[in-house]
Amino acid sequence: MVTFEFFVQEGCVPDESRPRIVAEIEAVCAEVLGAEAGPVSVSWTVIRKGFGFRGGEPSTTSLVRSRIPDGHGSDVRARFLRSIAETWRNLTGAAEDEVIVSARDWSWAG
């Protein structure tokens, strides 16, 4: 299973674009991680305007945090992160430095 938690700043990702974002991210998961990665689960957290900051300044940055099955090497993980970031930018119009993507192993306790 692959889970995503999207943290987005209010007004930066239109509601109507969400279904397509999810569909394309599911496609990236299947392509890069393979079908054995299993189903994809997504949750959204909208950070209200005036409630999100980066470097102490109001933020327009989205954080795309995911958990993926254990066992993928650094090359696959890097390709996954890059593909997710590119997909996000293409669909939201975000600049390269406005999206942060992570993928931690499912068993990682933190």
Binding site: G50, R54, W106
Partner: protein
């Protein structure tokens, strides 16, 4: 990264307080590490009170029993002392700026490897290697 989520009661902090806390968190984090200021993300999320929140850098949930909670997520690789100084500094500043008794604020920081995160199209550097990472674009140009 880091990503600091401040779970707060509804209408408990003004914009000015949130902004000042975000600046202070940036000062604290960068004062105890070599991270550039642009790495520091702070979000305020209003809740109904104590409870739990999904761990952004580990598995499961982080439980808390104070009205205010700082859920931090950092790159792994710093000393226990550095991590302790960062968290205590965050709580101190949060309490001071918010005018909130320190015993009403708690926090926890979990970590994940730097190589598991991509920012600005590049894999993040290990803690302490930020200077080289920041110079890479200029070197490549």
């Amino acid at each position: 990264m880091p990503f600091y989520r401040c779970l707060i009661p509804k209408d408990s902090l003004t914009y000015e307080q949130r902004e000042e806390i975000a600046v202070a968190f940036t000062d604290v984090h960068c004062g105890h590490s070599t991270a550039p200021r642009s790495f520091v993300q702070v979000a305020f999320l209003e809740t109904d009170g104590s409870g739990e929140v999904a761990d952004s850098h580990g598995s499961g949930v982080l439980r808390y029993d104070t009205p205010y909670f700082i859920a931090g997520g950092n790159r792994a690789g710093r000393s226990e002392e550095t991590k302790r100084l960062i968290l205590s500094g965050l709580i101190e500043k949060f309490s001071e700026i918010g005018g909130i008794p320190a015993d009403m604020v708690s926090g926890r920081i979990t970590e994940a490897p730097a190589s598991w995160t991509m920012e600005a199209g590049r894999i993040l550097p290990e803690p302490g290697a930020e200077a080289d990472w920041l110079e890479e674009p200029a070197a490549a140009a």
